[in-house]
Symmetry: C2
Subunit: 160 residues, 2 copies
C-alpha cells in the first residue's frame, strides 16, 4: 500500500466474481492445492455461464487471453476444479458448471432442461436421504455427489 487514498475498486464488470474466486482460492489453499491463474480464469468463465459451458467453448474463450491454449489446458483445469468441488460435469450434455454450493458437502441434484439445456443445481436433503436409503437397501452406496435429472426448467415449463 502506498497511499492513504483508498483505491477505487475494479470496475464491477458484469461478472467479475472476484469475491467468489478469492473464496475458492482460499479453500484450495487450506487443502494444500493451488488455484493457479489458468484454473482461476477457467473458474471465472464458469461463473459467467450459469447454465453451463462446453469444454471447447471454454477453450475458445481462454484462447483470447492465452493463444497457446489447447484442449489439455482446459481439461486439466476442469479436472482440478471438479476434484476441488468447485465445478461439476453434466455427463449427458458434456457441459461444465461451477458449483453453486461450494460451502457444504451435501450431494446435489442437477436439473438439466431438455429444451434449453440449462442446468440448475439443487440441494434437497429429504430427497437425497430417501435416495441414499433406497440405494443402501439394494446394496449400493452413493458415492459421488452428483445426480443428474432431466427436468424442464421453470421458463420452459411456462413456454408451453
Amino acid at each position: 500500500m502506498n497511499s492513504s487514498i483508498p483505491d477505487i475498486q475494479c470496475p464491477p464488470t458484469a461478472g467479475s466474481h472476484t469475491a467468489a474466486l478469492d473464496l475458492a482460492e482460499a479453500a484450495c489453499r487450506t487443502r494444500g492445492a493451488s488455484l493457479t491463474a489458468i484454473r482461476r480464469e477457467v473458474l471465472e468463465l464458469l461463473y459467467r455461464s450459469p447454465t453451463g459451458v462446453k469444454a471447447y467453448d471454454l477453450l475458445a474463450q481462454i484462447k483470447e487471453a492465452r493463444p497457446g491454449a489447447s484442449p489439455p489446458t482446459i481439461y486439466r483445469a476442469l479436472d482440478f476444479l471438479i476434484e476441488q468441488g468447485l465445478a461439476h460435469k453434466i455427463g449427458r450434455m458434456n457441459l461444465f458448471v461451477a458449483c453453486r454450493h461450494a460451502s457444504h458437502q451435501i450431494p446435489s441434484l442437477f436439473l438439466v432442461c431438455p429444451k434449453c439445456s440449462g442446468v440448475t443445481e439443487l440441494q434437497e436433503q429429504s430427497v437425497m436421504s430417501a435416495l441414499s436409503n433406497s440405494l443402501a437397501a439394494a446394496g449400493h452406496r452413493l458415492e459421488s455427489p452428483e445426480v443428474e435429472i432431466s427436468a424442464l426448467c421453470p421458463m420452459c415449463v411456462g413456454a408451453r
Copy 2:
C-alpha cells in the same frame, strides 16, 4: 405353417433373448413403429450386455454379421430404441443399456458404479415421488424417465 410336427425351438444359445425381443417387436408394432432386423440385432446385443455397452463396441459386434455397418448404423438403431423406451443412454459413461422395465412407464434410477462402470436400473416409487414433488416445488417438471446416479455397486462395495 406346413406341418403338424412342432418345430424344435432354436437352441437356447446363452443369451438368445428371443422372447424379450418378440415382446419388444410387438410393442413397437402397437405404436406404429417397426423393429427392423438391424434394430433387433442391436437390441439383442444390449440384452447380452447387462451392464452397458459402448456404441463402437456395438459397431464392432454388428460388423461381424454386417461388414458394411458404420457409426450411423448403430446410432440410428440406438436412437430408435431409446425413442421406443427399449434402451437408455448413460450420459456420463457414453454407455447404452437395454431397459429392464419396458412394461411400465415409471421413471428409473440408473446406478452407475464408478469403479466397474456397471449399470443397474432401479425403480423406487418412493424416491421418485419425493423427487418429483421437490422439483415441482422449485418450478421444474420431471420430464425424462432417466436419473443418473454414481453409486458403488454391491460387488465393489464388498471389494473394499
